[in-house]
Symmetry: D2
Subunit: 322 residues, 4 copies
């Protein structure tokens, strides 16, 4: 049912009854030079590597993209570069992640004018808001900018959960087109999918790297795995196997990716969890020749040589590096 | 010892041995029109009300000022207006609060050029950083901008504690001039003050409204109470009583202010904790004729008429309204 | 591989290479009279209802059994009654849940002498222990009592996670025979199963009611659903479908059980989450004629008539009540 | 007003208008032999050391006493021994700490018959209860056992806060005689004291070791410092100075005790926070000749020789060891 990731139809009634996006839509790593500026040639290779792997969409300026380290001008440049490199091959989501409503509206306008197909919005952060206030946050953005909104449930960053009633309420009102769930609460996602089952245009995606087969099996429409920056073919294989109903084979592929995912804990302790995860992706991408430097945005720490050597052992173990 | 809130000296050696700031330094509420734009005439009255009350400094763009709701241009306008109204009467701190290092550096440059005397910096947020990375965050800012830095410990917003070793390390290196503690962990603040006791230039301030006498009694150098926007005279009286060693009288004044602080829970449940607190300050300020509207920045909810009526009962009870 | 839930073999070498327990092993509700004493006739019917439903084991004195509300004598009586009613039909786990090591050892001795086949042990609680101390907790119990130990990962109750390295370490040493995971962290469980894949005797079970198909699909050996007290046939059907590789049909059954699980939120707000969940199970069981009273142990609140009426609507909706 | 710690009066009307307990009431460490059995001779010396230091009451079976490591028989023996050694010199509180209502009632009956003057009760734990259910927990105990109840607010162990409305409600109904606050939320304690100011029989005590002067200054009636097991004279001096209104001298004594309190972090990392704190008290008490062994109850780890050497450096630094 979801084998066509980007449904194209001249029949608007049919179109409106399908999810806007499905498939593997990785959050795209933002490579940096050692002076912390964006390394555009590496960024081009990152995107080409994902498209070569067969991904169905690109999510620029997600958490994995270190979005909150970039200001408005930097974000515009990142979206524009991605749009240019992609050149219409797949749809592009843009994260418009900042603490409060009016600032998010500005980012959403920028994203729209820079060519993004949808924007990804979290609950407000730093400030503490209630579920009704969070609902209004999405409504204000919807009213202000004419672009599809994907809700981003990421309590580990914003420290509040998008509760089922909030998500389902916004989806039923047509404020949000779908949800990207990085909460780890797959039970809640399952209830959201159930509640919205009568609306074939609503979609749910998981941010998990390690439970993709499970979440697809329960009816999710896509997956947004940061680890796909390292192994896009793996996640596309996993997606295709699940689309074909080959659960046992999908499980084996997922288990191979579990091994690869172990890179995210290598520098833990010396660095924060945030630096350890994206830092490991960057180190692996450098070892694979995709990007030039594993530099993390300030004040995060990058993986050192010893840690990178451990990353490479795992890359060899899963067959990505010889 | 700290009876002179703003030490002025031509002898630099003496100057360097005293805290840069002491006394009552309220975070200044940012009044809004009902269309969410800043209400400058109300902002002027807010500042004049504080200065009339005898406060020793102004902290613009703090959490109580709804700082994260304002973008770079808006923040510059707020600082410039405050600097103009203040006209050198007291020193001005400016919050430079945003998720990551380079964005904070930009805000700090703006604050410096707009005339702020010091900047107030939190740990990074949204992203998860370790204590060493948080230390580097402050060091990068210190290296980039020539202005005193005050560390702002506010785990309820950034979801990480500035640990004693981090704060004391940064203070000992001369990276931070002082700390504003809104963590509620007065024991930790006490240890920081003890560790830095040999450095007479280091200062610690509490963000508490309700334990001011206690925290001053243990050696803190100042207080940053949001509630002072409603009753600056009360907090200045409290400060003066503690400076004079009149603990029993100070306790009575603090207990009067405890009654007033009850306004922050009136709308809780209907609104978030964030909206309830600053929203109550704004409602009280409107009832007292200081500001024109109690509008909260989007998506927060403002207090309604019924809740404002309850605020006014308390204002009468503590003698602020007849 | 796991189609025989309770492997029976005279060949000890083969036996030792299979999981001790697999299948549906519900935590058995402990029915109470309105004076809070255990209602043994209702308890008998609860057990018979489960066995009629085809469950593969019984877990008495779990969280759903309100274990921590019962003292040592009460616990012995509960295990003995269950052992008598069961009469060897399926294996029985007994929860031996109390804050600290020596008290757990006493409970484990009681459970063993009362006829339990294995004991279920959490991390210490009330006291705060480190992962190495938690490991020692299990080792001390293993040394003291000759009975298989199942680790119970339930952070929502004990406020500490059994980390992967702790679980895998204890499993590798032979201290624990398996794990019951009620942490909601299925990714961690998946890694534990992967780490222990070479030990065919180790087993992992999920405490989830709503992700059973998912967790079985990733290789778990069983499920411990409180909701099976209300609908044992549903969970046994779900288990059998997954054993047969009928994922789509399993998903439909799981989705029916999701509807049923909605009963656990009916009294939320008026009661705590704890009372709401087990309280709803008891109310449903009363409505289905299995138990005589929905009384919850003190100080928990039972569902009232209005809430019970809502439970019955759902029971009808899923076909359990006419 | 609170200078007489244990009010004695034949005029019952006057008596009933004063707090039942005031002053320094340390939680008494429970010394163990290396085989984990209670070391009664060391326990006797622990109590005599406290009484020699001038404390105004004893709190046996608190968290610092490792209460949850002891079963019902062990607890009875501990209370009876303390009652015998104390021989009426000061009042004795007994902690009756276990997860649920009926078990606490049993402990309270034991405590009463063993000679305790009051019992100390926490919110239920392991199970999750709401504030109204927590209120009922205290009411059931009050109805069942004729002994004064002190509420024990210790979220770090039971993972729920006794909210102001709960505490004040129970106090107003006469269910609880006072509160021991180990929540670290001194602002909340201050509001509870304010709300109960018209009831001179209600008392509030802090469990803090490091903010004693502050909390007494705001009107608290006593202090329950675990560290008094190491230095009872220090806390009694601090109490007396505060009673005499000598705030500056009290602050100096408190700052000396802050130095001593640093022992609680020495083994942190190698042991849990729980083991590190009480373990340091035990190590210090052994070094001071009060107890024979620093053994912690299983599965906690005791301080090792290297850590004990660091404890002794601090003991020398604050003048307790030569």
């Amino acid at each position: 049912m979801h084998s066509t990731p980007v449904p194209i139809s001249t029949d608007l009634k049919v179109f409106s009854k399908m999810p806007l996006f499905t498939g593997v839509v990785p959050p795209v790593v933002t490579p940096l030079h050692s002076d912390f500026s964006v390394d555009l040639p590496s960024f081009t290779r990152t995107i080409e590597n994902l498209l070569d792997g067969g991904v169905h969409g690109l999510f620029v300026l997600g958490s994995t993209s270190e979005v909150v380290f970039h200001d408005e001008a930097g974000r515009r440049a990142i979206i524009e570069h991605a749009v240019k490199v992609n050149n219409g091959r797949v749809p592009i989501f843009a994260g418009v992640i900042d603490p409060t409503t009016d600032r998010v509206i500005n980012h959403a306008r920028t994203a729209r004018s820079a060519g993004a197909d949808a924007v990804v919005v979290t609950a407000p952060f730093y400030t503490r808001t209630s579920q009704p206030e969070i609902g209004d946050h999405f409504r204000y953005i919807k009213d202000a900018v004419d672009i599809p909104i994907i809700a981003y449930d990421i309590p580990v960053c914003v420290h509040v959960k998008l509760e089922r009633r909030t998500t389902v309420g916004l989806a039923s009102e047509g404020v949000i087109a779908g949800i990207k769930d990085s909460s780890g609460d797959d039970g809640n996602l399952r209830y959201v999918l159930k509640d919205m089952a009568n609306d074939p245009s609503f979609f749910g995606m998981t941010g998990s790297e390690i439970l993709v087969d499970s979440v697809l099996a329960m009816g999710a429409h896509g997956v947004v795995p940061g680890l796909a920056n390292v192994d896009p073919h793996g996640y596309v294989r996993l997606w295709n196997l699940m689309q074909a109903g080959q659960h046992a084979e999908a499980r084996l592929e997922q288990e191979r990716l579990l091994k690869l995912f172990e890179i995210v804990w290598i520098s833990l302790g010396r660095t924060s969890a945030g630096s350890a995860g994206v830092g490991a992706f960057k180190s692996a991408m450098k070892s694979l020749g995709i990007i030039a430097s594993n530099t993390m945005a300030r004040p995060q720490r990058s993986l050192n040589d010893e840690e990178t050597a451990k990353v490479e052992i795992i890359l060899r173990d899963v067959g990505l590096l010889r």
